[in-house]
Amino acid sequence: MPLDVPARAFALPEGVDPGALVSFLGERFDLAVDPPERTDHTVLDTADRRLRAAGAELRLHTHRGEPTMALAGRPGAPPLTATVRRRPRWLAGDLPEGPLRDRIAPAIGVRALLPLARVRGEVRPARVLNRDDKTVVRLRLATHAAVVEGGEVPLTPRLEVAGVLGYRRPFERLVSVLTTEAGLVEAPGSVADEAIAAAGGDPDGVPSKVRVPLRPDQRTDEAAVAVLRALAGVVEANLPGTLDDLDTEFLHDLRVAVRRSRSVLREMKRAFPPGPLRRQRDALRWVQAVTGPTRDLDVQLLEWDDLVATLPEDRQAALAPVRALLERRRRDAHRALRRELTGEAYGAAWGGYRRFLDGDLGPDDERPDAAAPVVAVAGRRIRKVYRRMVAMGEAVDAGSPATALHELRKRGKELRYLLELFGGLWPGDEARDMVRALKALQDVLGTHQDREVQADALRALAPDLAGVEGGPDALLALGAVVERLGTEQRAARERFADRFAEFASPSRQALVAETFRP
């Protein structure tokens, strides 16, 4: 349970003089006014606003000439600060060790902290005192402006009020005076959000997921296009961060949106004209292909530390050249990706795809599912893909090749996208529940396949490693890593049977048939 420190933020109506408000309050409360503070700071958060989602607020300012991060504490408390190095962006590992990093790292994960807006202004602090001259409420009158290209945009002047632990009554009395006598209303959003919007950004951040409201009786082509447009928006929103290589999630989110788009085109193919459909599917496959190598290396590098941590220390040290090699490869791969995604081919392919989504799809008779209600088409596909997975899974036994599981995983992704993008068409929890069981299954299938891919990729490094300094030692240690990956892959395979049994239980089979029936 959080401590009971209440806080409110009010907007000052236009034309209200902050000084007049202070004297108004001074007549009603024993008010101590403290010296004003100037602020000039940059709002930091990940592109998808993870800190905001965690209720945190991070700023960058200059303190005694040093770039300093300040993580806001609870209302009325000083921020936690740390001196940092000036950079265009910070990953958790770029922050100095200490309490600030400890608190931020779990919230941001692999994402980078980016400057989202710059704010300048003045804060006038004041305190309400009780009979003992003790502070019982804290106030801050803030007049801020967002610094944007070519000038400043004034933000709503605000009065922030924070209670003091154990003194709720005076807080409530003050709030009541502010809302009734002074007629103040709640401030719209935070200073950070307002500043981001003023600078032309979206306070909700760069999207990674889509939520498209659909009607069950909507035409399938219309519904599919609505979903595809939203997904194309995610691709476009994540492209600049991918090109600038701000963090690995931009590319990841971009690729997931492309994969989902391909899945919609495949599953709802009979809602589209065959010729143009084929061209667009080729275009998206090409995007997926040119971004694949970078993502594969990202995964290798992201998992590298965990993987290596399981080895004895001398082995770990011996592996340094492998990491360096991976990093070099990754740099090269990203350079190639950048070339492709800023090139003419991409411009033409993406432009073509956008025109396809925005244009006329032609007469219905070439497209048998086009006019059918989306609930019928999506339901049919969900039942079909599910049944197919059940059959494939049941055929798996100890002697099946790994590819049997890989194929099953592929179908699983397909089913997951169908459920996530169209599951809202059905009332009840079945779609969500299925996603959960499916995720559990996909986890083991994912581990099973990823470990194999990782092991193959590491084996493929061998010829290059042989030549570098420390190469022979690294190769030896690499053997241990590959062995470890094999063990994990086998362990995943052992878990498969249980997860699959849960996913394909007779009761679920009956429920799926019933829920998604035509």
Partner: protein
């Protein structure tokens, strides 16, 4: 949450002065800090203008029946909360005595605070008692003010030995010199020798200074009411040492 207790069997050596100044400095650094005034004399509670009254009394608190977070009070120092003293703490030894698993009792009051704070500072009353035992159990560090003399140093050594031998998971015991009078040769010599020789004696020493005495009048720690004074500087140096020893 790290727990630091200012502790000395002797009275009037600077425990409370150190506790409130360190607490204020920790809070200013953005650490969520709580100060527990364990002394029935309520010096820290008085300093922060909080009325000393614990609902249900100390007995209930230690038995775990009162929600300790309801008793917390915010202070005039931003980010610093106080668990106030109360007259009933005079009976603390009695309470603890009857309460079974006595060494864990202080820890049990602190447990629910751990999610809210980075640092708890316990301002202990003088005298060795059962309170002390459970303080030793709960603390990560004991901060022991010493007035420079050969005798106090011997007492400190006895305390260190006791804690080391008798406490299951002993706190780090760190002494610092308090009320150092630079005009006295004995003070200068003892401080000089011990703070360089021993690593359980802090390098920072707090000078005898009027600003510290004025805390009661100003109702604020020295680091707040006279931040540029020598005493304030000394407390900042002491806090820096404590912080790095605690690794926070």
């Amino acid at each position: 949450m790290k727990v630091v207790a200012t502790y000395n069997i002797k009275g009037g050596v600077g425990k409370t002065s150190a506790a409130v100044n360190i607490a204020a400095l920790a809070a200013a650094d953005g650490l969520r800090t709580v100060l527990w005034d364990l002394d029935p004399q309520a010096a820290a509670t008085f300093l922060f203008r909080v009325r000393a009254k614990v609902r249900g009394g100390g007995r209930k608190l230690v038995r775990g029946r009162t929600d300790v977070t309801d008793l917390l009070r915010g202070t005039d120092i931003e980010g610093l909360d106080l668990l106030p003293a109360d007259f009933s703490y005079r009976h603390m030894d009695l309470v603890l005595d009857g309460a079974g698993r006595r060494t864990r009792r202080m820890g049990r009051v602190l447990d629910p605070l751990a999610e809210h704070y980075d640092l708890a500072i316990l301002d202990c009353p003088p005298s060795i008692s059962l309170v002390s035992e459970s303080v030793f159990d709960a603390a990560d560090a004991l901060l022991v003010p010493l007035i420079p003399s050969t005798l106090t140093v011997r007492t400190f050594e006895q305390l260190s030995a006791f804690v080391e031998d008798e406490v299951e998971d002993p706190p780090e015991v760190v002494a610092f010199f308090s009320m150092v009078d630079g005009r006295k040769r004995l003070h200068r010599e003892v401080v000089e020798r011990l703070s360089t020789d021993r690593d359980d004696v802090a390098a920072a020493a707090i000078p005898a200074a009027t600003e510290v005495e004025l805390m009661g009048v100003e109702r604020a720690p020295v680091v707040v009411h006279a931040p540029r004074s020598r005493a304030a500087r000394a407390y900042r140096a002491l806090w820096a040492e404590v912080r790095s020893r605690l690794g926070i």
